[in-house]
Amino acid sequence: MKRSLATAVAGGWLAAGWVAFALLPWYWLDLSRGLQDFVDFPLGVGGSALALGVAGDRPWLLLLAFPLLLATLALVLPLARGPGGALLTLGGVLGGLYLLAQGFAIGLKGWDWGWLGAAFGGTPRQEGLGPGGTLLLLAFLLLTCQGLARRGWCRGDAFVVSAIGTVVALIALFVFFPVARVLAHAVIDPSGAFALAGFVARISDHSIWGLDCLAGPLRCGVAWNTLLLASLVGVGSTLLGLAFALVATRSNSRFKGVLRILSVLPIITPPFVIGLALILIFGRSGIASTLLAEWLDVPRSRWIYGLPGILLAQLLAFTPIAFMILIGVVQGISPALEEAATTLRAGRWTTFRTITFPLLRPGLANAFLVGFVESMADFGNPLVLGGNYDVLSTKIFFAVVGAAVDESRAAVLAIVLLSFTLLAFFVQQAWLGKKVYTTVAGKGDGGLPAPLPRRVALLAAAVVAPWSVFMISVYGIIMVGGFVKSLGRDYTPTLVHLSTAFRIDWGNHGLRFAGSAWDSFFATIQVAAVAAPLTAALGLLTGYLLTRQSFAGKRAFEFGTLLSFAIPGTVIGVSYIVAFNVPPFELTGTGLILVLCFVFRNMPVGVRAGVATLSQIDRSLDEASLTLGASSATTVRRVVMPLLRPALIAALVYSFVRAMTSVSAVIFLVSAKYNMATTYIVGRVEAGEFGLAIAYSATLIVVMLLAIVGIQLAVGERKLGRRAAPQPTGRTL
């Protein structure tokens, strides 16, 4: 019975493949043009591969029928499991490879692969893959997986093979392929020839690696700037985070609640908003500058623009992340260890120095690396506050959209940035890799954590208190700034900024969203709402495969999924426009590319959440389900998913919030139709409309809070058999 189910699934994909080939529009269409593309159906713009191959000018599409026939034979002929599987695999692999090859070989303007053009001649052209092309590609992929399952891969479990195949293919297409394209871009000159010398010259350029600032008043290379900033942020956020974590866990201060909120707020704050608040406080006409100028005659200056400003903003933005990493580690240190040390007559300070601190070291290293990478990847704050202090992420941006567009320079800078973050990632994996997933064991092992030694406690409190006040005032500015006329000059309360952005008119045609921000607001919500469930699904599925299935190449698979996290948003943004601007995957200017970008940027969080939660769930629950005759797919649906609710919430919330707050990647990908809230706000900041920008940001923060509450309610609690009222039990044993 089960085997016939597998056959039905394979047959379904085969049918989908034939439909995609014979009926669906093969090429990319702009659906906003309505049905106009279908007037000549099955030929014309919306034509199918079969029709265009037979009657149109695209005969090469006909060859796709051959692998489809192979797969059909494999399913129809009464072959034994082994050979049938081999034939099915062959059909799927051949079809997929040929589909990709023809897509890359023949582009918008003719042959993209010159040697093929030389062999065949002519100038065939084609557009990017559309519904038909994409579905057929997917069908070939899944038929391959079905074939491999029949050949005994993953204990013959087609669901598992298909899941692995799909995740691998998606990561390859949307992470590795674009990055590879960028790398290729850097070593190929504009005419398309391979130019290693040019690449070497560009990557060793003085503007990247120059060290003039050591000798005199000149500026250093952008690579050194970035490294210096990232190191300062790494060290600073780690120390601050440690102070916060110690105060939060090891002292009985009343701060604790405040600290919790302060640690969550920056997560739902678009990163550059902090930079903006800093300008409003310390800029030339900021609140603090004005007060100082009027009361103490301190001349107004632009000191906040440059390294100090970016550093301050990034410390504010990334300290909470360090705090969250370190609080886990601090709580994870078993009090029993410290108690053991105390019973061995160690004093508080000795205990801290010899037991607590060494146990914290991996956490510290981890927090440093995360701060380091986040700083490198940050784009919004350097853009807002950078002044003359260039960093790689902004340089890349201006190389792509600035006055002098130079894509190969952008590619080179992207490579430098990518090498830095990958280096940090490798260090982290090699050195700490094994500790990443260890979670606090469910067992409470009693005991009281040792109180902090006096000097450590004092030091931590001395750091935490003023910093908290500073953070609160920054958020005060964010909440107030949008509702006064002009911060620093005129404090008359007003709703004018809010109404410019979000005015709603009752016109002749009824409701009209007249505010300037509505378009980007709706686009953002739409993209975030589509991306979040996809991200969560893909991330949790990957987490499930990593924890519950064993297959060849699992370590490489795991590494690949984590690697995509180490690629900075700016690099992803550049690589997406480079890779997805031309057929066969022509996606720029669509909302889809934004969704895809978010899904693959944020997927690793879903993976981590899934892995962490699943490793706390006893594996024998899955096995019990399997021995009761449930298939893997049923087990996932009925046993694993209900227990994964906390991870599902985490992944949904995180991906939704990140989709609403990130700038670095999307700023390259937005279009007139799909502008995002963050890029709109950055634009307002650059135009000096701070009030509007702040009002919009505050609105976003409120919307995100509502969304988080909504997601919690929608997904619901994981009910671990806590039923409200025990039923009358009758006879008990």
Partner: protein, 362 residues
């Protein structure tokens, strides 16, 4: 509430119970040999225990039967059918896990009804089957409870009910009693045995408690170092251990050196210090051998027999345990608790009963 109609369950005798056969099955994890060319047969309707020290491959063997691990080499047959390449989903085998593995997000009845419902049985029917099985294990009335509201013993029975409800050809237990206290352990193991005999189930049962194994099994497979050390009925293993390892593992044994003299028929004259005993020779040839002497086969008297001195003494109520120093080594001895106490340092005469002594084959 619906009363389960009796038509849903086949009568125990009619249910088809299958044999389990291992043919030179090997399981390797990287370089670790977890099961090494193991062969055995479990007859239909019998309870066979896999017994052995920690890490000898018992759990792995059980998981191989269930299809949760795939054999590296060899064949596995269930009911005469080759299932080596089949996944757990496709084998008609259920398992009771050491941790019970009850689904925490489902009630008792939902847990038990899970098996039928994933097989496509309608919900009402699945719950009727579940209720009937719960009654069978004595849990009527607890159907709607959540699993966290049950005692350890009740959870264990829910796990058994969940495994039983599909009337599997083979039922597997992995140390099902290890989470229970000593008293409960005895009662539950009797329940399991009772159920197995009533429903005529084929059961493979893993434990490392030899007393438990002796109490419940039709046959015992003793494993050591990923291989089968000996297979037999509880009595065969106790009375005729095939090796030193089995003799020491099943029941306590004093291992002493002795000398085989003349062999007459099935018996031999064995010299133990200055005593002479007549024992089945079990293939031993004249010369040096080792004997396994059960602690209750040794008697202590004022004088006579082998001279010894009490070294340690402890009183356990039902029995008294002594360690006695003699010329053939320190002997571990148990005598009935009602016997008179002997204090350490006292000289005694040590005697032997022949039916508690076996010659160990080399």
């Amino acid at each position: 509430m619906k009363t389960p109609h009796s038509g849903t369950r086949r009568s125990p005798a009619a249910a088809a119970r299958a044999s389990v056969e291992f043919r030179a099955v090997t399981k390797r994890y990287g370089s670790v040999m977890a099961v090494d060319a193991v062969s055995f047969t479990i007859e239909p309707g019998t309870l066979v225990t896999l017994l052995g020290p920690s890490g000898c491959g018992k759990t792995t063997t059980l998981r191989l039967i269930a299809g949760l691990e795939m054999a590296t080499a060899g064949r596995i047959l269930i009911g005469g059918e080759d299932v080596t390449a089949r996944s757990a989903t496709d084998r008609d085998v259920s398992m009771v896990f050491q941790s019970y593995a009850l689904f925490p997000h489902m009630s008792v009845i939902e847990n038990v009804a899970y098996g039928p419902s994933v097989q496509g049985v309608r919900k009402a029917d699945a719950e009727a089957m579940a209720a009937e099985t719960l009654a069978l294990v004595g849990l009527r009335g607890l159907e709607q409870r959540s699993t966290s509201e049950l005692s350890g013993g009740q959870q264990q029975r829910v796990a058994v009910a969940r495994a039983l409800v599909l009337e599997p050809q083979v039922l597997l237990f992995d140390e099902p009693l290890s989470n229970l206290d000593a008293k409960l352990r005895r009662r539950v193991r009797e329940d399991i045995r009772d159920l197995q005999q009533r429903l005529n189930l084929t059961v493979a049962y893993v434990t490392h408690d030899q007393e438990e194994a002796l109490a419940v099994s039709d046959r015992i497979i003793v494993m050591a170092h990923a291989q089968v050390a000996q297979e037999g009925s509880p009595r065969e293993l106790y009375e005729a251990p095939a090796s030193l390892f089995v003799a020491e593992f099943i029941g306590d044994a004093n291992i002493v050196a002795a000398e085989v003299g003349a062999i007459v028929g099935a018996e031999a004259t064995v010299r133990l210090a200055d005593l002479e005993l007549r024992l089945p020779h079990r293939g031993a040839r004249p010369g040096a051998v080792r004997l396994a002497i059960r602690p209750d086969a040794i008697s202590l008297a004022e004088t006579g027999g082998l001279a010894g001195t009490i070294l340690k003494a402890s009183y356990l109520g039902k029995v008294r345990e002594y360690t006695v120093r003699t010329a053939i080594g320190d002997l571990f001895v148990t005598v009935p608790g009602r016997a008179e106490a002997l204090v350490p340092g006292r000289a005694v005469g040590v005697g032997f009963t022949a039916d508690g002594i076996v010659v160990l084959p080399e």
